[in-house]
């Protein structure tokens, strides 16, 4: 599988610093795309090109070239990373174009992408050995180095805790409490709130689990599907030893109602909070009752590891 760290931060140069990998923004001239392209630039992400069909030749912020196609943008910049801001109904064609043009990490921001379209994009990504993050994700971030997404910068600080989250705002909220408690983040990956994810919780876990620098992990789940159960089983199977704590949103949500996220729905017992919490308990992963409790539980777990 493609290496997410290499795609996000490149290789170290002779001075031991990571290069800034070039990133393409698809839909850079839209309201949402331009707002976040600017925010990513401010954070220090190397936005190398934008793509908007029909606007090729123009410049974003007076300096970043805009191309009509992803292929042209890739040819000009050598970029392997793209973030997509197109409306949901155009996601399938935008993502297909990107993967065909050689993009290896595609961050899919749009919410409300039809599941069938996502499934088709995932099939293509498998063939191309590419990573899809999302759709309906806040994005991916290595605090202090690179932000490819729509998350605000303020909750995050560099550190050694991994945060994986289905929800965007809970990712910000919980990272903020971690930061305040002195736990910076080594990487944060938004899984997204859709029923089908390009990078599943277990995939995200596998992408980061072998990074020797990580000290612990926070998994922010929610009702719907069985991604949490599967990652809990996996953690037991591989006997992963580093401290993990979790939070699950939607414990008190009614069954068979979609709670905002397309994926946040309990059908029968499939997707229930009880099922997820009991699996995490089996895997010796404490589940916080409130977002604010996460940092406390993590501190406790880290303390035990030291003993």
């Amino acid at each position: 599988m493609a290496d997410i760290y290499e795609l996000l931060r490149g290789k170290k140069d002779s001075d031991g610093n990571y290069q800034k990998v070039p990133v393409i923004v698809q839909g850079i001239t839209g309201t949402f795309g331009s707002l976040h392209a600017k925010q990513m630039l401010d954070y220090g992400t190397n936005i190398a090109a934008g793509v908007t069909p029909g606007k090729g030749g123009q410049k974003f912020e007076g300096k970043i070239p805009i191309y009509n196609t992803v292929k042209e943008a890739v040819d000009a910049t050598n970029s392997k990373v793209s973030i997509v801001f197109v409306p949901a109904k155009f996601f399938l064609s935008a993502a297909t174009e990107a993967l065909e043009a050689g993009i290896k990490l595609l961050v899919a921001i749009p919410e409300h992408v039809p599941i069938r379209d996502t499934m088709q994009v995932i099939e293509l990504a498998k063939k191309k050995d590419a990573i899809i993050i999302g759709p309906n994700t806040p994005g991916v971030m290595i605090p202090g180095l690179v932000k490819i997404g729509i998350m605000p910068a303020s909750p995050f600080k560099p550190g050694n805790i991994v945060v994986l989250s289905k929800s965007g705002t809970l990712l910000y909220e919980i990272s903020n409490t971690l930061t305040k408690a002195g736990f910076g983040q080594s990487i944060t990956i938004g899984i997204g709130g859709d029923p089908v994810n390009g990078t599943r919780l277990i995939d995200a876990f596998d992408m980061v689990k072998d990074d020797p620098s990580i000290e612990g992990m926070v998994i922010v789940g929610e009702i719907g599907g069985d991604a949490e159960e599967i990652v809990a089983q996996h953690i037991m199977d591989i006997n992963f030893k580093k401290p993990i704590v979790s939070y699950i949103a939607g414990r008190r949500a009614p069954k068979e109602k979609r709670m905002g996220h397309a994926g946040a729905i309990v059908m029968g017992n499939y997707g229930s909070a009880e099922s997820k919490i009991s699996m995490f308990n089996m895997a010796n992963i404490p589940v916080a009752k409130r977002p604010n409790e996460v940092a406390v539980l993590l501190a406790g777990k880290l303390e035990k590891t030291k003993d």
């Binding site: 499934m119 089908v196 599907g225 068979e256 709670m259 029968g268």
Partner: protein
């Protein structure tokens, strides 16, 4: 969206899956005519978008007019798990040998469709031990796969081609209508070896609605839920009296959990979304103001890209316009939260630094008012 049984069966019939003769109605006047047309005996079945109606008494047999006149109004007035009756289905009873189970289901973790079939039907599939499970990619099922499944659940003779036919038609629905779940539970195995869909459950992918205008007629959203959707946010109406408003589905769910943990009763789940503006929050407050049961509003916002002042401005406008006259307990976190607090200090909005404090406050307020 989740189709009601009679809607799912309409879809089944349209795709050539055999269903019992039945007629749906929403009032007894019409139903009396339907009863004549159908002829006794028949079953009357409550149409609600949740499971468990059999246990709740939502399915009754009728043998004559007297039974019908008593039972129909009872079922029409029924509520199951907080869901009111949407319609009543009158349906001929079928004599059958055996109940089977069949569904096509989006397996989210494997990211493919899965056939689940069993020789035991009519009960929740989770409780059935002998299941046959087959992964089928994007939902297309070829006849060979269907035949193998038929044999694996022990079907024989002419039932096998009947099952293959039913499964392939169900697969066609799954693919063409973009469904997350298409379930027939039970499938009746009739005396002559043929199969009949006795119940139907279909859940479609809401995000694909734009490709299926023909399905709009099945939309069962409330007026408020529809208005919310048009404004780009999500509203789920609930039974309680405290409106829960926030940005981001996860954060609103989490707020709802904490409120319920503390004895509060959520009146709604309202996610104003990531792109909240003063106008959209004002519209959200308009919707809340239309819910008569609401006694207080709990707001939990994590301002990131959306500034909390954007939201505060909407509250001030709502008070000025006399749109809301409710106490608001809020926690505004993140960008420009200090400025928001200043803006709202002379209003009925109480500001808290932590959501836990805001929740304690709102629960006490509502309890005090009784």
């Amino acid at each position: 969206m989740r189709l009601l049984e009679y809607q799912a069966k309409e879809l089944f019939a349209q795709y050539g899956i055999k269903i019992p003769k039945g007629i749906s109605s929403k009032n007894i006047e019409q139903a009396r005519n339907d009863a004549k047309q159908l002829g006794y005996p028949f079953v009357i079945k409550v149409q609600v978008p949740v499971g468990g109606r059999g246990k709740a008494g939502g399915i009754q047999k009728c043998h004559n007019d007297d039974e019908f006149e008593i039972k129909y109004p009872q079922l029409l007035d029924m509520s199951i798990k907080g869901e009111k009756t949407r319609a009543i289905l009158l349906e001929k009873m079928a004599e059958y040998e055996k109940e089977l189970y069949l569904s096509l289901f989006l397996n989210r973790s494997k990211r493919c469709y899965t056939i689940i079939a069993s020789s035991e039907g009519g009960v929740e599939i989770e409780s059935v031990k002998s299941q046959v499970i087959r992964e089928v990619g994007l939902g297309d099922v070829d006849s060979q796969t269907a035949e193998e499944v038929a044999k694996q659940i022990g079907l024989q003779g002419k039932t096998i081609p009947d099952f293959v036919d039913m499964l392939q038609r169900l697969a066609k629905i799954t693919v063409e209508k973009e469904v997350e779940l298409a379930e027939i539970n039970p499938v009746a195995l009739l005396k002559d070896g043929s199969l009949l869909a006795l119940d139907g459950k279909v859940v479609t992918d809401d995000n694909a609605n734009f490709r299926h205008p023909e399905m709009d007629k099945y939309q069962e959203k409330t007026e408020l839920e529809e208005r919310a959707e048009k404004s780009g946010f999500t509203l789920v109406e609930l039974d309680g009296n405290i409106a829960v408003v926030g940005n981001g589905a996860g954060l609103v769910m989490s707020t709802l959990d904490m409120l319920a943990d503390n004895g509060g009763k959520p009146a709604c789940f309202l996610d104003v979304g990531g792109g909240a503006t003063t106008e959209s929050v004002y519209e959200a407050l308009t919707l809340v103001s239309k819910m008569k049961k609401v006694k207080a509003i709990l707001v939990n916002l994590y301002g990131g890209i959306v500034k909390t002042t954007t939201v505060a401005a909407a509250f001030i406008k709502a008070y000025d316009d006399k749109l809301i006259d409710l106490p608001v307990y809020s926690r505004l976190m993140g960008s420009e939260s200090e400025k928001s607090k200043e803006m709202l200090k002379d209003t009925r909005t109480k500001m808290f630094d932590s959501v836990e404090d805001a929740i304690n406050g709102v629960v006490m307020e509502v309890n005090k008012r009784g």
